[in-house]
Amino acid sequence: MKRVNTGVPGLDEMLHGGLLPQTATLVEGAPGTGKTTLGMQFIYDGIATHGEAGIILTFEQFPSQYYHDAANFGWDFRRLEQEGKLRIIMTSPEVSMAYLEQAGGQIEQLTHQMGARRILVDSLSHFERLAADPVHLRQMIYGFINGLKREGLTAILTRENSALIGEAEGPDENIPFLVDTYILLRYVEMESSIRKALLVLKMRGSDHDKDIRQFSITPRGVEVQSRFEGQEGILSGSPHRMAASFIEAFVRR
């Protein structure tokens, strides 16, 4: 089956070639982990490498912020917008959802006019203010994701996780069930420094790499590197060497 490359070195290998077309991927992480950068890279790669127009739906940041941030990686989003290959829309979840529900709405028009194939929704966390009831919230997000798929879009949806280090429960832990692919970005404290870890927790309809990999944000964007060797407890945010834990386990006996 054809894959949709993310354009993130190392990540496509983890995804066994890339995302599946017309699927929704949740990229979740703490502030500053690189969710938006990863999403922008996905959109830029679609335009620059595959000739696929893209949409960025932002619920918080102004388009000027994306122009600025993208320029740091050499991606000229302003020019791509002028060329009709990219559209950055600042709106709200309720309005974008209402447009998706009606025929001929904004997103439908854009997919037809621009031939958009990719979308970044930044971020899904803003839906949480629309419904206090988790069941209602789940239904809303489910409908929204299906609307994007119906329009033929392959979507990356970001979600904030308030925990800088260690486990954190989001307001609605049902959301990962609604998406096809679930990528987690985490901070890891190791040897008196903070590193970043990436893990593909789920990929519906495909096998994927189960390693927890290091990644960094370089002048070219996100780059996924090698797995954490000889460490365990990485998702706790404070890993320890496997030998030490082995000794610990041994001593306990």
């Binding site: 102004f62 388009p63 000027s64 559209r87 950055i88 829309i89 600042m90 709106t91 709200s92 309720e94 309005v95 209402a98 447009y99 529900e101 009606q102 904004q106």
Partner: protein, 122 residues
């Protein structure tokens, strides 16, 4: 006396911009929203959300957006149970807005525009 001063102050402004200023930009909040939509030309949203983006009071925002829609700068549409605002598609108006925003970055024009708005608000 004041009328003479205004006439003298405004007479060297581009007539199209002067007309736009007199008929569309009748308050500082409208000026803010015109700039907002110029910088975010693809935004379609409710008055409540636009107020949040612009850091303005919702009640004032509602009134000012409705007036901008009535004067042809914005469109006002029903979307489900919401009223949403967006920049008009008319390329002539968009070009005029672009010229207005560009001109308002120049101190000389800005001073005159501020003077005009203060006077029209009396």
């Amino acid at each position: 006396m004041n009328d003479d001063l205004t006439r003298h102050t405004m007479e060297d402004i581009d007539p199209d911009l002067l007309d736009f200023l007199k008929n569309k930009v009748t308050s500082f909040v409208k000026w803010d929203f015109i700039r907002f939509f110029h910088e975010n030309p693809h935004t379609t949203d409710t008055a409540e959300n636009i107020a949040r983006y612009a850091g303005r009071n919702v009640h004032t925002t509602r009134t000012e957006l409705a007036e901008l829609a009535a004067s042809g700068v914005l469109t006002e549409n029903r979307l489900g149970d919401m009223t949403v605002y967006a920049l008009v598609n008319d390329p002539r108006i968009r070009e005029l807005i672009g010229r207005f925003v560009e001109a308002s970055n120049q101190r000389d024009f800005r001073v005159k525009a501020v003077y005009h708005i203060i006077r029209s608000m009396r």
